[in-house]
């Protein structure tokens, strides 16, 4: 990866200059990363010793039978990976890609003013490299699985992924973060470049350990008339920050959805930026959160409409179901509109379960607890049902139900 060495050196300089953000930074007002800043992390070992017998296999079940690249604490594991893809499609680790995609690598995710992206850019060891040539339809979802584990000593890994989809091509990419153990930090960056007229579905299922830190940026560069969707599901992690930055071209359609279910003392922050750089773009954004325990969530949705990006149609919705008095949510839309012939709508709601609906279910014989579960699940279903990858949808449905039960006890 010598071609990007100057970039990495520059990023390292920025890391030193920027330091970690504080709550005085507008973008980090509600998310305090001083626990990360205070910790001295060392590079995570690339072994599986932290995982008990059978534990790992069980977690990998949803990804069986599909092409998958598996990484252990940021390092590629050929043993756990399985790559049965048609010829011409590249799905390798970045290291194995041998500079083939250096024209794209680290060219989109801006690090100059983003400490965690700079940290990743300066330090990443490996990650996934997916390249789909022009006019190719890949039916099967490609899974990128990141296994992380922690122990006595705080460790850090920096997964770095690059997905390049050619014009008129179609692909589905799933990022899964699976963690186990305390005291580790996953600092990931994924760049997706989608060529003109391509159709790209992206999913991220984050199931880190609740004693870990997870900070990730998804940078999406979309071509003309592309149809892109991403679903970001946040289940695990103690302190979680997800940034999604999507840049749209002329006639691009982007769907950016998310679901977060913090409980206990989890903190989940979702920041999204939808950048309508060119005319006739459409974006649909729906984030839903279910908060319980003493958890906290942040949603900040920025929509930028650049001068000249006429006929932009942008819709943003954030809905929160707050199940506990001790949970807190901060939600904020941020519109920067520099064109006049556009339609931008946004709305945020924060509410509790509908008592009348609970009673109605009870009046039909359903117990109060089950009634609450049913309604909570119904709230999340809106997002779950949109997931087109069946094993992923099934896995998520199951976890959400398990969560509901755990929250009760």
């Amino acid at each position: 990866m010598t071609g990007i060495e100057p970039i990495r050196q520059d990023a390292a300089r920025r890391v030193a200059e920027l330091g970690f953000p504080t709550t005085r930074d507008e973008d980090w007002r509600f998310t305090n990363v001083s626990r990360i800043a205070r910790t001295h992390f060392s590079a995570a070992p690339s072994d599986l010793s932290a995982w008990g017998e059978g534990q790992l296999e069980q977690r990998l079940v949803p990804y069986e039978g599909s092409p998958r690249l598996v990484f252990i604490n940021g390092c590629y594991s050929p043993e756990l990976s399985s790559l049965k893809l048609a010829r011409g499609i590249r799905a390798t680790s970045l290291r194995e890609a041998n500079g083939a995609v250096e024209a794209h690598l680290a060219r989109y995710a801006v690090y100059q003013d983003r400490a965690f992206v700079a940290l990743n850019t300066a330090n990443f060891e490996d990650g996934a490299c997916i390249e789909i040539p022009k006019g190719t339809v890949v039916e099967e979802p490609i899974h990128l699985v990141f296994l992380a584990s922690g122990g006595d000593v705080p460790v850090i890994s920096h997964p770095r992924n690059l997905v390049v989809i050619g014009p008129h091509s179609q692909a589905t990419v799933v990022e899964s973060y699976i963690g186990h153990g305390a005291n580790y930090f996953t600092n990931a960056v994924t760049e997706i470049v989608a060529g003109d007229h391509s159709v790209v579905d992206h999913y991220k299922l984050q199931e880190e350990d609740e004693r870990s830190f997870h900070v990730a940026t998804l940078q999406v560069q979309l071509g003309r008339e592309t149809n892109f969707s991403t679903h970001s599901i946040s289940l695990g992690g103690g302190l979680v920050r997800n940034d999604i930055n999507a840049v749209l071209a002329e006639g691009t359609e982007a769907t950016v959805n998310g679901l977060y279910l913090p409980s206990g003392s989890q903190h989940v922050d979702n920041h999204t930026v939808i950048d309508h750089a060119r005319p006739h773009g459409a974006s649909h954004e729906l984030y839903k959160g279910i908060l319980s325990g003493a958890s906290a969530a942040v949603f900040n949705g920025k929509i930028v409409v650049r001068p000249g990006a006429q006929k932009t149609d942008a819709k943003q919705t954030n809905k929160n179901l707050v199940l506990s008095e001790n949970a807190t949510i901060n939600t904020k839309p941020e519109l920067q509109i520099h064109a006049d012939d556009v339609r931008c709508t946004h709305g945020a709601t924060i509410g509790q379960l509908d008592e009348e609906a609970i009673f109605y279910l009870q009046s039909r014989g359903i117990g109060k607890e089950q009634a609450r579960d049913l309604l909570t699940y119904a709230f999340a279903r809106d997002i779950i049902d949109r997931i087109k990858v069946e094993p992923l949808r099934a896995r998520l449905g199951k976890i959400v139900l398990e969560r509901l039960h755990a929250n009760r006890n």
Binding site: D354, E356, A357, F359, Y360, L361, Q362, S363, R364, G365, I366, G367, K368, Q370, A371, L374, L375, Y377, A378, F379, R381, D382
Partner: protein, 252 residues
């Protein structure tokens, strides 16, 4: 046999007394109609019997099948065989009719010591009941009451009743908002439900429904009390003379 015995029932909402001493006994095999002007407390009575905690019972007693009803949580009342067709059924987005009703039926069946129905058996049962109220099976996949018209919501209540097979059904103005065809469909559904060991309370403020569901007794509720009871002819009488005289009789 007395299935429901209401004795001197007083209930209030937000500190205001709505029911001021209701006495009513309903035997198995009987259909009772409760009529009365708007705001007289008919729905409050239905809600209290269903167990809505918004309403506080301040005095009196209700026995259902000899058991103290007011001490049971709402779900237990339903499991014991009480069903209320609500005047304003609640919309529940995200929960399909099918899923909801299967969960409800299986809880009730469990309580009755019956086996839970699997998806196939449930579907067979449900299709048969849908035909009874002339509803499209596509409706099963729609969320409970969400986006339903007023008439569809009312029919859905009767459909649920047909599936859950309660012993005591209380229909709160199920006829209002229905055109004559829908009214006949609903009445037909209700009449099929009438058996020797079930009972029903039909709340309405129009006599119209009672042409199709012929009651054994008619009661007039005004200002939170039953001010007059009689046979089915009382409904006709009220239709002609209205409630005005009765209300005055009470307040005087």
């Amino acid at each position: 046999m007395a299935l429901l015995e209401i004795k001197n029932l007083h209930a209030s909402v937000a500190g205001k007394e709505i029911l001021s001493g209701i006495d009513l006994t309903v035997n198995t095999g009987e259909v009772h109609a409760i009529m009365g002007p708007n705001g007289s407390g008919k729905s409050t009575l239905a809600q209290v019997l269903a167990g809505r905690d918004l309403y506080q019972v301040t005095d009196g007693q209700v026995l259902y099948d000899g058991k103290d009803l007011l001490n049971m949580p709402p779900e237990e009342r339903a499991q014991e065989g009480i069903f209320i067709a609500f005047q304003y059924p609640v919309e529940i987005p995200g929960v399909s009719n099918m899923y909801f009703l299967k969960a409800a039926l299986n809880t009730i069946r469990k309580r009755r010591g019956l086996e839970e129905l699997d998806a196939m058996d449930f579907l067979t049962l449900v299709k048969e009941k849908l035909a009874l109220v002339e509803m499209d099976p596509a409706f099963l996949n729609r969320p409970v009451n969400a986006g339903f018209s007023g008439g569809e919501k009312k029919r859905n209540e009767i459909f649920q009743m047909a599936v859950l097979e309660p012993r005591l059904a209380i229909l709160d103005e199920t006829d209002s908002g229905l055109d004559i065809d829908a009214l006949k469909i609903v009445a037909n559904g209700v009449n099929q439900f009438r058996t020797r060991d079930r009972a029903m309370i039909v709340v309405t403020h129009y006599q119209r429904l009672l042409n199709y569901i012929v009651p054994d007794q008619v009661h007039v509720l005004a200002n939170g009390r039953i001010v007059k009871s009689g046979g089915k002819d009382l409904a006709l009488e009220l239709d002609q003379s209205g409630y005005a005289g009765l209300e005055e009789a009470v307040t005087a």
